[in-house]
């Protein structure tokens, strides 16, 4: 039963997207269309919560076989605890973003907007759940296409179109290369399934296959770094994310960039657990080093550039670059602690970044400007948004009771184990980032109001923001003060896919063979 | 018997088409401008494509061991007919556009169309 639910979860938003034109043509009311989408996403959230609950209840990961075909023949979804948590996070945040959009998106093109958001959520959920390398490509493209279109949503603003085009070009270049990697995978190893691939990798260790393995790793890494906006490929991100409507900025910065991290998790942890025993080990080490280097460089870049921004959305976008750098550093460790830190950091960052963007959206709508100076003092005017803004900024900055602190702490521990210099670099970087966050917080909350604020009626949006804020606070306090919870959720999820990986893979392999 | 005849007629047409095609290609290279090359292209389309397609259709009919020979014959015959419809219209449309947009420089003996348009 549960595996059928897993299969349905990403398909449900997609199906809703297919039906939206009919719903629109029948009703032609904005609230009906939006409400329909919200209901679908609420169902998706409930279902993914059930999946996450079940994933923690049982020891082994869930395997869903599309069409009933076993692994190398058909497509399988492999949902372990990591993926289940990400799925829950994704559907929850998208639900709140859509709720927020009901009061934010009021122009005529809303049916297109809803379709694109639904498609995007289908894509991210698919990326989280899939266990097939080629299906991962398709899901990345689903996410990508809807993201390009959403960035171009303000069609009469040149900035939006130009940066959306930049994003589209660089993104589709990346996915073309990933497709090439899939061709190589199939031609050298004869399989496209993640777990099957991890077994077959060790069967061939001649020079040609080593070369191919390295090439696959490089191409995949390059693609995921584009998708995540990490250092050599970060240049599109600070243009694209601010150009979109604010809920979409939240969606892009909070969730879409996660796809690269999830992809790396699947490549570095699940697909290559086996390669330590062989000469492939050196390639793995190189890949891990490359990931960490890219991560640290983009952390430094993001933190430095954050401090000189005047546009508030650009500032937050650079903060995304920095945080994704940290995530890459965490995931590159290839250890239990690294994965644990990554998982918690992903949750924290997604929640906080989405909340930050959404609350900034209220201020921007009120003041009609995106310049930091014009926003000064707006936080006091809108209490709910101000609270959400403060909490999320402090979370991102890593102030103790909030979840950001624990995330940074875990990451520090993981990096300390890997290399002390990196740990220090990370602390220094987050200190530089802290300056920018504090500036932002000070200006928005305590600055003297210099511009007239329009009255905006966004009750639903503010309610959504409050829900998100409460979630952040709960997550922060529970995980920080009750270590057992941390251990049993984050720890066990990381344990499952690092130390107990052999049980994991064995179980999955057995489920494949079993009809 | 009839099959062998069909086969050899088809083969002859196929080879003949190849020769004409080659001639048309040489014409395409040698002719000085677009309006003259159009005529070489016609050779390539009619005796260089339609004829060998009919030849292939006959050849396919003449090989009993070919699986699905009627499908091959039918499809190639249909292709030939379609080419017979498409090729002249394509040439005509291109010539029309080239003349209308005056994008091709040439020195004709007489250009009745241009004279009439100037009137």
């Amino acid at each position: 039963m549960i595996d059928i639910i897993i299969g349905v979860i990403p398909f449900l938003p997609a199906f809703a997207g297919f039906t939206i034109p009919i719903v629109y043509l029948v009703s032609r009311k904005r609230l009906v269309v939006m409400g329909y989408a919200t209901i679908i996403l609420a169902i998706t959230t409930v279902l993914s919560a059930i999946v996450a609950y079940e994933a923690f209840r049982v020891e082994h990961p869930f395997v869903f076989r599309a069409g009933g075909w076993p692994a190398p023949i058909g497509i399988t979804y492999i949902v372990d605890r990591f993926c289940a948590l990400i799925g829950l996070l994704t559907s929850f945040i998208i639900l709140s973003i859509l709720l927020y959009s009901i009061s934010y998106i009021t122009d005529e093109a809303y049916p297109w907007y809803v379709i694109l958001v639904l498609g995007n959520s289908a894509g991210i959920l698919g990326v989280a759940y899939t266990g097939d390398l080629f299906n991962l490509f398709v899901m990345l493209e689903v996410t990508g296409v809807s993201a390009y279109a959403l960035v171009m949503y303000y069609r009469n603003r040149p900035v939006a179109i130009v940066s959306g085009l930049k994003y589209a070009f660089i993104g589709s270049l990346g996915t073309s290369l990933y497709l090439l990697a899939m061709g190589l995978t199939y031609s050298f190893y004869g399989t496209l399934n993640l777990v099957d691939f991890s077994y077959k990798v060790t069967n061939y260790i001649d020079t040609l296959h080593l070369f191919a393995y390295g090439l696959i790793m490089i191409l995949a890494l390059w693609t995921f770094s584009i998708k995540s906006g990490v250092f050599p490929n970060h240049f599109w991100l600070p243009d694209a994310h601010p150009a979109a409507p604010t809920p979409i900025s939240a969606l892009l910065s909070g969730l879409v960039v996660n796809t690269g991290v999830i992809g790396l998790y699947k490549f570095l942890y699940i697909a290559s657990w086996n390669s330590y025993r062989t000469p492939l080990n050196s390639i793995m080490e190189l890949a891990s080093l490359a990931v960490i280097l890219m991560g640290s460089l983009s952390g430094v870049f993001g933190a430095l550039l954050m401090n000189i921004q005047r546009d508030v959305k650009r500032l937050i976008a650079y903060s995304t670059v920095m945080n994704l750098g940290f995530l890459f550093m965490g995931i590159g460790c290839l250890t239990f602690k690294g994965l644990q830190a990554t998982l918690y950091y992903v949750i924290t960052h997604s929640l906080a970044k989405a909340t930050l963007f959404l609350s900034t959206g209220v201020f921007i709508k009120a003041s009609g400007s995106r310049l930091l100076d014009n926003l000064s003092g707006s936080g006091m005017k809108y209490k709910a948004a101000g609270v959400a803004f403060a909490v999320s900024t402090l979370t991102l900055a890593g102030i103790p009771p909030l979840p950001g602190f624990l995330a940074k702490l875990l990451l520090y521990e993981a990096l300390f184990e890997y290399n002390i210099a990196l740990a220090i670099l990370m602390v220094v970087t987050s200190a530089i980032g802290l300056l920018a966050y504090m500036k932002l917080l000070y200006i928005v909350l305590f600055g003297a109001p210099i511009s007239l604020f329009r009255k905006v009626d966004m009750k639903l949006a503010q309610a959504t923001l409050l829900i998100l804020t409460v979630t952040i606070i709960i997550v922060g306090t529970v995980f920080l003060f009750i270590p057992e919870v941390t251990q049993s959720i984050i720890g066990s999820a990381a344990l499952q896919s690092t130390i107990n990986i052999e049980n994991y893979v064995e179980y999955v392999e057995n489920t494949f063979i079993k009809p | 018997m009839i099959e062998a005849v069909l086969f050899w007629i088809g083969a002859f047409l196929f080879i003949l088409g190849g020769v004409f095609d080659l001639l048309a290609a040489i014409g395409m290279i040698r002719f000085p401008n677009f309006y003259v090359r159009l005529h070489a292209a016609t050779i390539g389309a009619i005796y260089g494509a339609v004829l060998p397609l009919i030849g292939i259709s006959l050849m396919a009919l003449g090989i009993p061991e070919l699986p699905g020979r009627y499908a091959v014959a039918g499809a190639s015959f249909i292709t030939a007919i379609i080419l017979l419809v498409v090729a002249p219209v394509g040439s005509h449309v291109l010539a029309y556009a080239a003349h209308k947009s005056k994008s091709v420089p040439w020195s004709p003996v007489v250009d009745a169309l241009e004279k009439d348009e100037e009137k």
């Binding site: - | 190849g18 395409m28 499908a71 190639s76 394509g90 449309v93 010539a95 091709v104």
Partner: protein, 88 residues
């Protein structure tokens, strides 16, 4: 049957190469499109011959499409040359 195709194929390939030279050199757009036309008419024949060579009926459909699609190219280029707006 293989023999016939074997004799015919070099003729067609040489013709195709010559057409391609015209397509590459073509001083004006109509020249190039005309060369592309001839190229694909030729290839329609050539792919059909390949069907005989491979002894399978399933390779026939592409040649018909090649012949039809190049007409689309013709029409679009001509329309562009005649009036700048294609949809007019």
């Amino acid at each position: 049957m293989e023999l016939i195709v074997l004799i015919g194929a070099p003729l067609y390939i040489v013709a195709i190469v010559l057409y391609s030279i015209r397509l590459l050199k073509g001083p004006t757009i109509p020249d190039m499109v005309l060369a592309a036309d001839c190229l694909s008419y030729d290839l329609a024949v050539f792919l059909m011959a390949l069907t005989l060579y491979y002894k399978t009926p399933f390779l026939v459909a592409p040649s018909i499409m090649l012949a039809l699609w190049v007409y689309l190219l013709d029409v679009y280029v001509s329309k562009y040359l005649v009036s700048k707006e294609v949809g007019k």
